[in-house]
Amino acid sequence: MNMQTDLVCYLYGVGAWGPGFADWNELQAQLRDPANIPAAPAPPTAKAEVIPGNERRRAPLVVRAAVEVSAQATQAAGVNPSDLACVFGSGLGDTEITDYLCAQLATPEKQISPTRFHNSVHNAPAGYWTIATHCVRSANSIAAYSQTAGISMLEAAIQAQQEQVSVLVTLYDLAARGIYSHIYTVTQDFAAALVLSPVPRESEPLAKLTLSVSPMACAEPTWAPEFSRLCANNPAAQVLPVLYALAQSAARAEASLELAADSHLKILIEK
């Protein structure tokens, strides 16, 4: 897999939420110095305040987690969320709702909640996000299991380049529920979001990203074992090497995300 030319885009904002970190600042501090990792890290409340209160109460946790990091990233980027196309990616989707639906459908009454049914679509986070931010642009919703982070970044960068639009890419996966917990090792919740622009904007970007496709993966960062575990078990958290490279002080770093069995999205990060 080769691209005709490398894809270049500019990173303007990051959002993060997961075990022991409520936002990108907290995750960044932990990626820089493992001493900042709390002893028993639990995910904080996903505030998702951009969703109106009555809607928020009906929203599943995957929606609140994805919307929370999306709001953080767009706020940090100083952009109007309604100007961004969005790509939401999740390896597992909402196994809590799938568990609920399948369990209910195994009862004689087969009664299911209409709200939980419409919330069960894989694009529920994209739907809630675009509704809450009045965004009428393209919203995608991706599943590619262990390649979800790589494919979502690739799709977002290509969309930014091809459509000349800024793109929000949001990745989220929560601990597997029901029979899915017998299959998946996902035991921790994680969500992160990045705002990519095809061109430099007025303000200084966090980094310039140059994406290329390579048969070779970059080595895993030498980081705390907590991040190795999270990254290995949670499809969305596979984006962590990119966030790690971003958190370091080096002006230039590389990270890669799996795209297919023998190909990797190599991301050169220049600050």
Binding site: Q4, K110, A143, I158, Q162, I179, Y180, A260
Partner: protein, 395 residues
């Protein structure tokens, strides 16, 4: 700069027929694939678009681990026509790593999860045979298709409810234009399952009657199942004369399960597709409408189309033949629309005896003969997710 994408082969299965020749016959004869609901373990009074060939499908021993109703639909679709031969030819040309795979599905293999939960209810445990990572997975249709075709390029499942397999064309076009791949197999599959039957029933959207899109008496959808594939390449790799000339994608930003009352998002998607294709509305020779037969969806879409297009533009919903195939609807209906280049048949609006007087569209139930140059297909999904596609004959 958008370069046009060639469609070099396509085929489908749905209640109207298994494979293009059968679907063409059903369309020409106005023979619906909808039947009174006989789906196992489902007592709802409704009509469904069931592909009975799936019930007869026997998994080969080596592929037993892949079994699900949805994967069986995918397999049936792959077996139709010349799809696998065309794919083999492209594979010879560019290699399996330069072929991408973009699938669309809303429910993936949730039918298999439902079966696992029933087993657990009866036996108190879930055996290994159900605990398949690549089946109980939103990415299942692409996992199975990659396994079956040997495609090793980038592979994704788009899951945006009922626009899923329309959006596969947009993503494939971008990948081809960015040069990430030289060809893309796009597809879509959604199968009947209790989740969608009882789910849409809970929203009071399922009709007890045959669905009749845009008819004054319509009162809901009939759920169907289907799968389809199209093989796409950049325009310098083939000389086939069907091209994807435009696409548009948008969001309603309104409600999770109700359309925007003026069809704001749908309008944007349609206008984007026209702009990309550099076409005016009056140049479109046929529109395959989303037309689910729900009261609100048809009202909004119908009146929007009446505003955007001349009254003379032939339009129809083909869900009277297939039912609403949900995540497969995008590609099933794109194929029905673009196949009119081959057949010269523009399907009518089956089961629509009298167009709702609130809808300002002129729709005919009868089929027409024509020689279309440009056709459009609309798909709108939950979450307010919209896509519109335009296909053209290049000569």
């Amino acid at each position: 700069m958008y370069r046009k994408i060639r469609v070099i082969d396509y085929d489908l299965v749905c209640a109207a027929g298994v494979g293009l020749p059968a679907v063409r016959t059903a369309l020409a004869q106005q023979h619906t694939g909808l039947k009174p609901n006989d789906f196992p373990d489902c007592t709802l009074e409704t009509f469904i678009g069931r592909v009975s060939a799936v019930d007869d499908f026997i998994w080969p021993q080596a592929d037993l681990a892949w079994q699900s109703r949805n994967n069986a639909l995918v397999e049936l679709a792959l077996q139709q026509g010349t799809l696998l031969q065309s794919l083999a030819r492209i594979r010879e040309q560019v290699g399996p790593a330069r072929i991408g795979l973009v699938m669309g599905s809303s429910t993936s293999s949730i039918d298999r999860a439902e079966a696992a939960y029933r087993f657990q209810r009866d036996e108190g445990f879930v055996p290994e045979e159900f605990l398949r990572l690549k089946v109980l997975n939103p990415h299942a249709p692409a996992f199975y298709t990659a396994h079956r075709t040997g495609i090793t390029g980038p592979c994704v499942t788009l899951s945006t409810a009922c626009s899923s397999s329309a959006k596969v064309f947009a993503t494939a076009a971008r990948w081809l234009n960015a040069g990430v791949v030289d060809a893309v197999l796009v597809g879509g599959a959604d199968s009947l399952c209790l989740t969608v039957l009882y789910g849409f029933h809970s929203l009071q959207l399922v009709s007890t009657k045959l669905c009749s899109p845009f008819d004054e008496s319509r009162d809901g959808i009939n759920i169907g199942e289907g799968a389809g594939f199209a093989l796409l390449t950049r325009d310098d790799l083939a000389e086939d004369d069907v091209i994807l000339s435009g696409y548009g994608e948008s969001s309603d930003a309104h409600h999770m399960s109700h359309p925007h009352p003026e069809g704001q998002g749908a309008r944007l998607a349609i206008e984007q597709a026209l702009t990309l294709a550099q076409l005016r509305p009056e140049q479109i020779d046929y529109v395959n409408l989303h037309g689910t037969s729900s009261r609100v969806n048809d009202l909004v879409e119908g009146n929007l189309m009446a505003q955007l297009f001349p009254t003379s533009t032939p339009m129809s919903s083909t869900k009277g033949w297939t039912g609403h195939t949900l995540g497969a609807a995008g590609i099933v209906e794109a194929i029905i629309a673009l196949d009119s280049f081959q057949t010269g048949l523009l399907p009518g609006n089956l089961h629509c005896k009298k167009v709702d007087s609130e809808i300002a569209l002129q729709l005919a139930e009868a089929n027409r003969s024509a020689s279309p140059q440009h056709v459009m297909s609309n798909s709108f999904g939950f979450g307010g997710n919209n896509a519109s596609l335009i296909f053209s004959r290049s000569n």
